[in-house]
Symmetry: C2
Subunit: 479 residues, 2 copies
Amino acid sequence: MENLQKQDFSKWYLQTIQQADLMDYSPVRGCMIFKPDGYELWEHIQKEFDKHFKAEGVRNAYFPMLIPESFFAKEKDHIEGFSPELPFVTEAAGEPLEEKLALRPTSETMIGHAFSNWINSYRDLPLEINQWANVFRWEKKTLPFLRTSEFLWQEGHTAHENEEDARTRTMRMLTIYKQVVEGLLAIPVYDGEKTPSERFAGAVSTYSIEAMMKDGKAVQAGTSHYMGTKFAEAFDIKYLNRDNEHVYAHTTSWGVSTRLIGATIMTHGDEQGLVLPPRIAPTQVVLIPVGPWKKNPEIVEKLEEIKATLISKGLRVTLDDTDNSPGFKFNEWELKGVPMRIECGPRDLENQQVMTKMRDAQEKVAVSFDTLVEFVVSQLDEMQVRLLESARRMRSGNEYTHINTLDELKAHIEEKRANQEVPGWVLIGWDGTEETEAKIKEETGFTTRNIPFCPPIEKATCLVSGKPAKYTVWIARAY
Amino acid sequence: MENLQKQDFSKWYLQTIQQADLMDYSPVRGCMIFKPDGYELWEHIQKEFDKHFKAEGVRNAYFPMLIPESFFAKEKDHIEGFSPELPFVTEAAGEPLEEKLALRPTSETMIGHAFSNWINSYRDLPLEINQWANVFRWEKKTLPFLRTSEFLWQEGHTAHENEEDARTRTMRMLTIYKQVVEGLLAIPVYDGEKTPSERFAGAVSTYSIEAMMKDGKAVQAGTSHYMGTKFAEAFDIKYLNRDNEHVYAHTTSWGVSTRLIGATIMTHGDEQGLVLPPRIAPTQVVLIPVGPWKKNPEIVEKLEEIKATLISKGLRVTLDDTDNSPGFKFNEWELKGVPMRIECGPRDLENQQVMTKMRDAQEKVAVSFDTLVEFVVSQLDEMQVRLLESARRMRSGNEYTHINTLDELKAHIEEKRANQEVPGWVLIGWDGTEETEAKIKEETGFTTRNIPFCPPIEKATCLVSGKPAKYTVWIARAY
């Protein structure tokens, strides 16, 4: 599969997730099966976010999945945004329902309805809730992990006394998203604000973290929304404030989903298949006996001992003592993206050492038994950092900040295509009009990703109109 | 609410779960909202079971929630059992679906379909998967936590080479269910086999753990099924065995659900409301300043210090320094079932002590600051054990093993009703016929719970037919 990743990224992606045994297709259109190695990635992601949410004082709850159709109609933008994608339950227990029930695409409406019952006074605020759940968006075009009809996510929903508190919560969650995605998944992201046309249906402000995949395309890796009082007005979330007046609460919502798994694969995978950041790898270290190891039972005994020691340090370790050849095993565990391999054969045993190889390195390193544990721990830590650095380098190699006109953008895309390179992300000046965004999209397929809080440079003039730029914006093709 | 628990158990239950702020109703029939204190009970239950499953080598995965209607038809008993309760998605994204999709009531069919693709050789066995998910059963009569149209559960599904391995897994999971329900939730259970009429739709053998509530009714708290090769035949789960023959795998499934929360409440709750086993209580210890504490800031400072120390020991602690009166707070935290209360006022501070009260005790106990941490830890441990013992006493007080004929059973029920007592559980001899079961149900409303592995005594003759008993069975009214 030499160069498949460069030549046909989509094919490489689908092959990689199958060979790594992360998923399977399902008989229902657009719905996928998360196999154990794929689901465990989500478990590690969940655990880390959940810890952060709880430290913020946000509590988990669970709301009904089925939402009456009439709920969607209560917020005009919300129904416009979601109704094209809703699946509906229309019959149950052999009888037609009086009102159609949507499978939730997100829970602002159901939770808004509940909040209106639960919030009476400023003493009830802030009310900060998170839900881990399955959600449904009946997508036309699907891609495993990145865009599926059913997916798993968390959705935080909070209500506050005023705009300032709500905006603080909105930004705080975006910061947590950035920290976890960079720290746990080793995916560098730009945090910034979405343009109005890319806002969540019903939001006043939408913020996102945006990640670049190895094919130069963008993945929106997490979003955080300030709703103003729009959902409060739609669902009558009013409270008695400190001045004894009934006023609307200010609400937020924020979410990350199983698409983070897809983003991780597309950020770190290489020609040999999956490459997993050590912190989320189901198996962090694989132990493989080599040479004529079956004649020498001490080898597997030693590996068992190493395994037990590493597990006692909290590491996730597998010993592969199946009958397959070492070469077969090396390949199989590389496809699975296991961060570290440890080999031991008769000569190694004699020398009281093992050979080690990191998934993202070329060379093997000999390590003596007595320093092995510290070595493994430090190497996994280093690989975690190295993957983030390497993703940052990949990203900066595909960022273009010198393009000032639509013609230059088209020429850039053409040139990259001709050289079989990726067009990457382009930083542009934007006059803030929808027409400009629409024209760029129509003529190049690039869409605005976000207005980064910290752009590499500030752009002076609008790419399309040539007028003074109001904003500096990342544009790219996106998943 | 003196004696409400005895006089009207249903009313007491609904009042208790509302006053403890565990749940709310939803606008969708039979679907409930798990509020944070209710959902956290589930999180503690999940965490404990998940740890056990992983220790068994069972791995988590996630399968699509929507199941094609045709899948159900593949196993005759399965469709008969579930089709009266299925909700169906019939349209999505504005268009009718080609095939109706059921919201899963359980996933044997979807997982059977996947297993048939994943299992080829005996080397692929055992295949042992668990899923944490929401499921749907459109029930006519619903009751929060115990019977809802949507609920949360885990469903384990395993495939094995032969009957022995599959039966071993079936029984092993039942043992784990018993251990966790007794150890974590302090609910004593009888483990045993279900009669054929009460079997899971499609199972060869169904085993259950059955718990007695304070109103003497039974809750089926967990089930484990041996499917034989029935689902393997329906979904073509065949493998090449060690003799190079293509044969059907033997499968199992097993599950516990959020109804365990309802069972916990109905087992331990008392006249004052909720009583939570310390191991699952969201707040294990509440600290309340008393007397003229506002004039003496040292009191809250001391309580803050105690709180920090207890939290550092891994305990879940709340300090209630709101403006409400101590009496109001005592009542509120009792309603919430918090296991331990610690009070500190000016005189306590002077004496370097606090007053403590356990939720299930009458008296307060003075404890000096310097022995407090050890005292709290040991008291919570003791309360956990005490609740289990107390539930065992309640249960034995409502078990009847001396009833030998249907007339005696009816007289027993009449007598209890006349005395406003609960009829409880009755251990009977059973000739093994469906007619007998049907007659008991029709004439008394009692149903067979299970054939306990360890009955208090063995019954000699059938309650109805008077013939020699084939089995000794618990019968009771059930949720």
